[in-house]
Subunit: 341 residues, 2 copies
DNA sequence: TTGAAAGCGCTAACAG
DNA sequence: CTGTTAGCGCTTTCAA
């Protein structure tokens, strides 16, 4: 099957390519008759505009780049889903790239996307990203960018985030309201903002409810893995046999905690209550089911794309871009690993 | 920051764009001196070739399309991961699209990708896809396509698949070898090839081990969901109180089965053994842990991309393309929901 | 060793 | 209402 171009249509119809181009786009200055002729021939020849030529002319590709720290991850795959759905709806394609939580590859991916003349970038900072030169540089080049989930306050651009402090506050408060008095917290590594914020939220909830903060109740799960939860639970019980609640930074950790408690025949939630974070798929199928915080990845992906889209249009129309920080609200999902209020 | 083009470099250096272009690509017919001059200016000006122009000239975008039935799914996100990694390594981008298991959107996505002049397509058929005109059409247009996972034998193109029959055979045989004599099978809906093949494998294993096939032992889980497994287990026990093994079509179903059995205080694996399919993440954290079949999505994604890449190159070089069907091997992952051999 | 020129396919300002 | 023309930025042939 040979290529059908404007030129071919023009020549077989004995008109100019300009006429054909305009006719197909319903320009008002083309007669109905010509439009009909052109369109019907275009259809019968199965004409498809060459997107490269269009991009070259219009300097836009209708494609954005999405950089994900880790694709195989329930929360992030929900984000991918949200982004792609929002983008598809607006006629955009999404190129997905993985930074693997590495600073180096994050830099490289951004570089690649810029070279590709992408219309905009959606990025979640890798845990290991320490400086932001690479990002500031692309902002200077007027490439629209929106940060989602893992962000940095020192970057001046639009962002979509979860209020981790508030979410952690709510999780902890929920435990308190169901009667817990001595609540351990398994947090992630020291650096990432999300772990810090969740820790702060935990602390604040205790304070507001007049429970003295005890730093020996805070444990670090380096990988926030199932094993971390499983192993730390032993230590927690050793250190504090009278513990009655655990707020874990992720559902995975919480599941490890839960498994270990069951093995030790400690009743959940009667003796120890557990609340996780993320509302992963698996929290619905543990036994008992896991109370958690819903972290709406799909919505976040949608919002992030829509924000980016707005900026792309603003820049295209030469309007001033006003950056926006959008906060997605989270909520406690009560299940059976906590007592009822 | 203004755009740096070949023209700009050429004019500031007082040479032609042709020379600049060639110098940057190390053409042998350019003097070392000019090359040095050109290259150093290009670097200091931070020159990036315009990818639209390159694509237009070369008729290739170094971008492929990946159509996934469902992004938020452990197996498929592994596939995405594999594809993206393999593609990145070869300098390709991956546009990800979701068909949502709908025939209509599958058709539309393919259409969009073709219009985008993508270099090739990776596709897993949606469950609802009934005819293959849309796919045969793109094959006729010489757009390289590789089918992965859910395929159809009546489409003539390269494919990457798992031998579901063999895998299901192995799963069932494993149950038999660990002493099971009366094995139920929870299969998926009637149409998709994968469910059919898994059913066939199940049946064959029984036959080869002289266990008469009993069709009342085959149950259908319409959605292959946790709930399906949970609910069907009641029925299975009612119908066949002496059941001693269950081969579930997915780990999710198996987890439902497992939970229900535990609730009924039926010992796993002593009284009833369970084997799932896919080696989802969750199979490692149920209690008891779930024996299953490893379905290597990552590897599948890699292989699928590499196959596509080969075809892209063959077509580019005008070579004849020989389609290839690649079978990824699976294996039984023994865990604690089955007895030891 | 270098450059002029054509052209990939499309769009849009302008002229007729 | 239609066509001419120029050009987006790059590559490559051919001539100098």
């Amino acid at each position: 099957m040979l290529k059908v171009t404007l030129k071919k249509i023009a020549s077989t119809l004995g008109v100019s390519t300009a006429t054909v181009s305009k006719a197909l786009k319903d320009y008002p200055d083309i007669s109905e008759k010509t439009k009909r002729k052109v369109k019907s021939l275009a259809v019968s020849l199965n004409y498809k505009p060459n997107s490269f030529a269009q991009s070259l002319r219009n300097q836009e590709s209708k494609t954005i780049g999405l950089i994900i720290p880790e694709i195989v991850h329930h929360f992030f795959s929900n984000i991918i889903n949200g982004v792609i759905n929002a983008a598809t709806r607006k006629g955009y394609f999404v190129i997905v790239l993985q930074s693997d939580e590495s600073y180096e590859s994050e830099k490289k991916q951004i570089q690649l996307l810029i070279e590709k003349n992408i219309d905009g970038i959606l990025l979640s900072l890798s845990d290991k990203t320490v400086d932001y030169k690479h990002i500031k540089q692309i902002i200077n080049q007027d490439v629209p960018i929106v940060l989602y989930d893992k962000i940095s306050k020192s970057i001046n651009c639009s962002k979509v985030i979860i209020d981790d402090k508030k979410a952690a506050f709510n999780a902890t408060e929920y435990l308190i309201k169901t009667g817990c008095k001595k609540i351990a917290h398994i947090r992630g590594p020291l650096k990432p903002q999300t772990t810090i914020d969740r820790f702060i939220g935990y602390k604040k909830a205790l304070e507001e409810h007049n429970i003295p903060f005890d730093k020996t109740l805070v444990y670090i799960g380096e990988n926030l893995s199932y094993e971390d939860g499983y192993n730390l639970m032993d230590q927690i019980i050793d250190d504090h046999p009278d513990i009655d609640g655990v707020f874990a930074s992720t559902d995975l950790v919480a599941t490890g905690v839960l498994t270990r408690l069951k093995e030790k025949n400690i009743d959940i939630p009667e003796k120890v209550s557990i609340i996780g974070f993320s509302n992963w798929f698996l929290s619905k199928i543990t036994s008992p089911t896991l109370s958690t915080i819903d972290q709406p990845g799909y919505e976040m992906g949608m919002k992030a794309f829509n924000l980016l889209h707005k900026e792309i249009n603003q820049i295209k129309q030469g309007m001033p871009v006003n950056h926006e920080v959008m906060e997605i609200s989270t909520k406690v999902i009560p299940r059976n690993s906590t007592k009822s209020i």
